[in-house]
Amino acid sequence: MPSAEHIIVTKNNGINVIEFNDRKILDELAIRELGEQLQDVAESQDGVRILLNFQNVEHLSSAALGMLITLDQRVKERKGALKLSNINPQIYEVFKITRLNKLFEIHESAARALGAF
């Protein structure tokens, strides 16, 4: 069965700007599919630049955090850059509790993140 499209990718000056179709990134099965779709973008070229815009996302689980960590590693292997933006306060708290706000580069807005590549 083909998996659902979990992301929308648009290009902005060569940067892959990714928005999520799912408001809840919680359950493992959906996260597995989402992870594969993100990995495809990460492996599309060396030096890939990705901005994950979380503006539509309301929920996030530890499995989603794990998927983001794996994505970050893949992007770094390809000498690329990954940035995150528009994370709502409840979800940002999840990043803070797990100290992943230290691992990821997180910006308030997509515009600021784009300017930081």
Binding site: D27, H59, S61, L65, I69, Q90, T98, R99
Partner: protein
């Protein structure tokens, strides 16, 4: 079927939902529990916390408790009133030592993709108690309206 060990589960305030131990079926109890949470007018933050903790507890029960064995079951006992929501997730595995789970925020563990579920449950719920050698986890969220 493994009987839950906790005495108070026999308390008739609790409702029980038993599901097959798969990631798909593990999603089933959420709708019923959250409907009760909304009916008792818990705030939005509390609902977020309960949803997150339940997801983590169910995933742990499928993957780590029941070791992805779909012939096993997960039983969820819950009651919600105006004061508190209490959810007990029971698997049929061998149990584990919760104190033995390493801190995922240590520098050398920060880049590992797993191991944050218990920490998030503890951060978001008012009480998280492992019982029966780790085969049961009791999650409590107080209604602070």
């Amino acid at each position: 079927m493994t009987q839950p060990d906790s005495e108070h589960i026999r308390d008739d305030r609790y409702r029980a939902i038993r599901v097959k131990s798969t990631l798909e079926d593990a999603k089933l109890p959420e709708m019923e529990i959250l409907a009760d949470v909304r009916r008792h007018r818990f705030c939005e933050e509390a609902e977020f916390a309960i949803k997150l903790a339940l997801e983590e507890a169910m995933t742990n029960a499928v993957k780590h408790g029941n070791c992805n064995d779909a012939s096993k079951q997960i039983t969820v006992y819950f009651f919600v009133d105006d004061e508190r929501a209490e959810i007990i997730v029971c698997d049929e595995g061998c149990g584990f030592e919760p104190g033995g789970v390493p801190d995922p925020t240590e520098n050398d563990r920060l880049t590992l993709p797993n191991g944050r579920g218990i920490m998030l449950m503890r951060a978001y719920m008012d009480e998280v108690e492992y019982r029966c050698n780790g085969r049961e986890v009791c999650l409590v969220k107080l209604n602070k309206r």
